[in-house]
């Protein structure tokens, strides 16, 4: 049976093979996004002692499908004097880089779409492109609220990108490679070998910057519904709005996966190096561990949203420039020194 | 693979550069903490940097030519001599500027920090041994200068000057870089030794090289301010605060001479025939336009700008014969010019005071009645700039003309003399204003003591060199051996 599948696979032309691989990655992401929205409403509901959506389907499980259907069927309203082409381009530009970034994510030691050498750089480049969708949308909407949201978002994303980039440089120094697969392999050993420990400040800075970069609470001044209605996507409706929604949630998942890959050992089992348990869990495929770690971070995203009040804009800027960037620069020196001194168990 | 046989660079050779870079950073940081009242600390630290660099350069001087940093850096006598002069000139610039800046609320740390970075850029240019380092040194210098011109933010003239300087300067850098990229394309190297060896060995001078020479020379002419690429010079000299004009007009010219030597003579020496013709045209046009247009100026900064253009023409005259004594006469000329330029712009600053710039020619009327001593110094400077015997400016011009005649270019020497005679008119006009006109402004001239001493020393140095030029001449000849 397996052999037959393999022969069928090799018969398919190469381009089609690649397309199929992409589909295999993108479809689960889309589904996860859909159910992440449900999870968000449920989690926040429980935190606020409510039960969240429970009417559509058993336990409300069909709610995302209903929401999606509603958005698809709604009319896309294009405001008067809006720049029609850019208005429609905005949501696409917002979503495309987020999905493109998934190409280099290793799900298991051999399960990666494109195992390229400069994977980390590629990720950084792709995540920095997402802001264009927001700026274009904000400008093309011909609305002040949208424009203000776009400006806030642009400044915020550019500021936090620097801290994020520095954090990634730390990972690069620690792993000695830009290839994500090799970064995970460099963390082999045990939980104590993962980079979260030697790179603890960078780990925290990276995740918090990730939250800021995805414009999620408590950094969601770009939406700021109490001041600027809904920020950059105030004029969007129907499927165009849905694309922004998809982009935001896909970006959340991406940041969570990346944090797991770079600081928590990716697909590596947390029981590695522990007697008995390591063998007992050896059968679990790596992707399960990766997804588990990702889920923890996704939960943190939701938890933040339910707990923290929104930052004021100047506070966001201060945190990014005056706190995160100095921390990362100092820690880079520490990491560099540690690598030179070959301090174990990470760098020997 | 060049990186396989990588050898550790000899950092000691670049110690002056490293020292200046570190000190510029220290001054930058220290300036944040000294506060408005004690800004003079920044000034003193900048001066100390220049003194320290001079001590290092002289102390490390061996007289041997050494190349290190993978061929990017050269240490030789010419470089060391030029560097010491750059420190000296910059120190005097800082000294002259202090009072001027303080009165105008421009006495900020940035002026000195950018000035030091400019010095670093010049040092890099002076001891560059690769197209890449020449370009980077030039950019470091230019960027500092653009910012210094614009430092007076509330002045429309300064902002406009900075904008023009920046746009045309970037254009020139682009040209230069394009020319260099063509040489890289043909020779496969940016290293000056390798480029010149390639050019010496290959006999078919192909058209790419010709284009490369054109772009490089045009880029250099832009940076030097030679006609027809001089449009920015008067506007920048006029619009910038005089302290910045003083800086732009003096030390960078020494670095520009070094750039010409490194790039055209050491790098593209074998293409001498190609660039000689272009330099002849640039030199004649510069001397003609500079000297004639200067006559029509009523603003002394503008007039000195045109005079600079004319002097650049002379500088090119010394280089274009392609002979050793030509180069040394050019070097002598540019060092002397820097000294005279310091005095000329310094005098404008000395006469100015709060709310008054003293940059019109009328402001020099009757200077003799107000201050006979400074009028005398200005007289020495003007006579020297005009090249009247027996002043140092005369010896400088004479040396260049001799080099031309020895290279069988007598006609060019005649042309140069003609334009110098025309140029003498506007210098002597200032002398006339100072001694034969009545002053309209009777406010006293009371410069600070250090300014007074430095200005007197500057004037007397020009005077002394006029009587006894052979020491400097010998130094220039020795530097180019």
């Amino acid at each position: 049976m397996l052999e037959m599948l393999q022969t069928v696979w090799s018969e398919i032309p190469e381009i089609l093979q690649i397309v199929l691989k992409i589909v295999v990655i993108v479809v689960p992401i889309m589904l996860s996004v859909a159910y992440l929205t449900l999870a968000e409403r449920k989690v926040i509901g429980y935190i606020q002692v409510r039960i969240g959506p429970n009417r559509v389907g058993p336990l409300g499980l069909l709610q995302p499908i209903a929401d999606g259907l509603k958005l698809v069927l709604k009319e896309i309203i294009i405001p008067t004097n809006a720049n029609r082409f850019l208005f429609l381009l905005g949501p696409i530009v917002a979503l495309a880089p987020v999905l493109a970034a998934w190409a280099v994510i290793p799900f298991d030691s051999n399960l990666v779409l494109a195992n390229i050498d400069a994977g980390l750089l590629y990720i950084l480049a792709m995540t920095s492109l997402g802001v264009y969708g927001i700026i274009i949308a904000g400008w093309a909407s011909n609305s002040k609220y949208a424009f203000l949201g776009a400006l806030r978002s642009a400044a915020q994303v550019v500021s936090y990108e620097i801290a994020m980039g520095f954090a990634l440089v730390g990972v690069l120094i620690a792993a000695g490679s830009l290839n994500l697969r090799e970064i995970v392999l460099a963390q082999q050993g045990s939980v104590m070998h993962w980079f979260w420990l030697p790179l603890l400040p960078l780990f925290l800075v990276y995740f918090i910057s990730g939250v800021a970069e995805t414009n999620r609470a408590p950094f969601d001044v770009a939406e700021g519904e109490s001041e600027i209605v809904a920020g950059f996507h105030v004029e969007y409706s129907g499927i165009a709005f849905a694309l922004f929604f998809l982009a935001e949630y896909a970006a959340m998942i991406l940041v969570s996966v990346l944090t797991s890959v770079m600081f928590l050992g990716g697909w590596l089992s947390p029981f590695e190096g522990v007697p008995f348990l390591a063998d007992a869990f050896a059968w679990v495929p790596g992707i399960v561990w990766l997804l588990g770690k990702t889920a923890v971070f996704l939960f943190l995203f939701l938890w933040f949203r339910a707990t923290f009040p929104r930052y004021r804009y100047d506070q966001i800027m201060r945190l990014g420039w005056k706190i995160f960037i100095p921390i990362t620069i100092v820690w880079l020196l520490v990491v560099g020194a540690a690598v030179l001194a070959e301090i174990g168990p990470w760098f020997d | 693979m060049s990186n396989m046989n990588f050898e550790m660079p000899n950092f000691a050779l670049a110690l002056p550069e490293i020292f200046v870079l570190c000190m510029a950073c220290v001054v930058l940081l220290a300036d944040l903490f000294v506060g408005e009242r004690n800004r003079v600390v920044t000034y003193l630290m900048s001066q100390a940097t220049l003194v320290g660099a001079a001590i290092l350069t002289v102390g490390l001087h061996t007289g041997e030519t050494q190349i290190t940093f993978g061929g990017s850096f050269i240490s030789d006598t010419m470089g060391d001599v030029l560097k010491v002069f750059i420190y000296l000139v910059t120190a005097v610039v800082f000294l002259y500027s202090r009072e001027y800046l303080r009165v105008r609320q421009l006495f900020t740390g940035e002026y000195f920090v950018l000035g030091l970075f400019g010095v670093l850029g010049m040092m890099v240019m002076v001891s560059a041994h690769s197209f890449l380092t020449i370009y980077l040194g030039l950019e470091l210098l230019s960027l500092s200068l653009y910012a210094m011109v614009a430092l007076q933010r509330d002045s429309i003239g300064a902002t406009e000057a900075a904008m023009k300087y920046f746009v045309l300067g970037s254009l020139a850098s682009g040209m230069l870089l394009y020319g260099m990229s063509m040489f890289y394309g043909v020779t496969g190297s940016l290293d000056i030794t390798e480029v010149s060896t390639y050019l010496a060995q290959s006999h078919d001078k192909n058209i790419v090289l010709a284009f490369g020479v054109v772009f490089v020379v045009v880029g250099l002419a832009f940076k030097l301010g030679a006609v027809p690429f001089h449009m920015w010079v008067p506007d920048v000299y006029h619009g910038a605060p005089t302290s910045v004009t003083l800086y732009i007009g003096t030390a960078p010219k020494i670095a520009a001479f070094a750039m010409l030597m490194r790039l055209l003579v050491e790098g593209l020496g074998d293409l001498h025939m190609q660039w000689q013709g272009m330099l002849i045209m640039l030199a004649i046009a510069s001397m003609a336009a500079g000297n004639i247009i200067a006559i029509a100026q009523s603003n002394i900064k503008r007039m000195l700008a045109y005079s600079t253009i004319a002097h650049v023409g002379f500088l090119l005259l010394g280089i274009l014969p392609g002979t050793e004594n030509g180069y040394s006469s050019s070097m002598f000329y540019i060092l002397v010019y820097a000294l005279m330029g310091l005095g000329g712009f310094g005098m404008v600053m000395l006469l100015s005071r709060a709310g008054f710039e003293a940059d019109r020619l009328e402001d020099f009327k009757g200077l003799n009645q107000r201050s006979p001593w400074f009028a005398f110094i200005m007289l020495i400077l003007m006579i020297s700039m005009a090249g009247i015997p027996v002043s140092v400016g005369f010896w400088a011009k004479l040396a260049v003309l001799q080099a031309l005649i020895r290279a069988d270019m007598t006609w060019l020497a005649v042309v140069a003399v003609l334009f110098s005679v025309i140029g003498a008119y506007y210098y002597l006009r200032i002398v006339k204003l100072m001694y034969f006109d009545k002053t309209e402004d009777n406010s006293p001239i009371q410069p600070a003591l250090d300014m007074r001493v430095a200005m007197s020393a500057n004037g007397l140095a020009v005077f002394a060199l006029g009587i006894y030029p052979s020491a400097l001449t010998a130094l220039c000849v020795a530097a180019l051996k």
Binding site: L86, I116, D117, A118, L121, Y122, L124, A125, S128, L129, V131, Y132, I135, I136, W139, F147, A150, L151, A154, A155, V157, V158, E161, D314, Q315, R318 | S2, N3, F6, P9, L21, C25, L28, F69, G70, S72, F73, E110, L114, F117, V124, S130, L132, T133, L136, G137, L140, L143, S144, Y146, A147, A150, L151, R153, M182, G185, V186, N206, I207, V208
Partner: protein, 202 residues
């Protein structure tokens, strides 16, 4: 034509078209977006040259950061394009002539006549495990360390200049000191006073 050539010409055509659009479109925001496209396609061309580090860095630095700020500024300034375009038609013929001359010169100078394959051998292709990034780093920190450090100094000067030219201290402006805000404790703001209940006199 090989696949590689088709890809090259496709990207090159987009590159040229986009860069022409940068200087001809009427709307400055569109011009900036075309510039983004220009950078993107040049990155693709570098990718074809196996310079993946430079290509991705181009996207990261120019597209991801520089152009975002550019777009930011262009959107904020309400540039009146009609004033800027005055005289465009008048200077157009001269511009076209100069452009043509330059193009002809360039084809003569850097065309295949002097830079063809017979003059310069085709560079060897590298294996898939060849790391461009590593090689660049190795050469940058050894042979080219001196120019590299000067470039760093240039960037420092750019920072100093940008701050010196734009920072204005406005003493009148009121702003909050976030450090103090964070350091504030409850006791600084609220004082809880224990009071005896007052008895109503009856």
């Amino acid at each position: 034509m090989s696949m590689e050539q088709i890809v090259f010409y496709a990207f090159a055509a987009i590159l040229v078209a986009a860069s022409v659009a940068v200087i001809t479109v009427r709307n400055p925001v569109h011009a900036v977006l075309f510039l983004v496209l220009t950078f993107f396609t040049s990155a693709a061309l570098w990718m074809l040259l196996e310079a993946e580090f430079l290509a991705i860095t181009l996207v990261l630095v120019y597209v991801g950061a520089v152009m975002v700020l550019f777009l930011f500024v262009v959107m904020m300034l309400d540039i009146n394009i009609t004033v800027l375009r005055e005289g465009f038609i008048r200077y157009l013929p001269v511009g076209i002539i100069v452009a043509l001359v330059v193009v002809v010169e360039m084809t003569i100078a850097v065309g295949p006549k002097y830079f063809g394959l017979e003059h310069f051998a085709e560079p060897a292709r590298h294996m898939a495990d060849y790391s461009n990034t590593k090689e660049l780093g190795r050469i940058l920190y050894t042979v080219y360390v001196y120019p590299f450090e000067i470039a760093a100094a240039i960037l420092l000067v750019a920072i100093v200049a940008a701050i010196a030219l734009t920072l204005r201290r406005r003493p009148q402006t009121k702003y909050q000191n976030a450090g103090w805000q964070v350091a504030t404790r409850r006791n600084d703001r609220v004082r809880i006073v224990k009071m005896e209940t007052e008895k109503k006199e009856s």
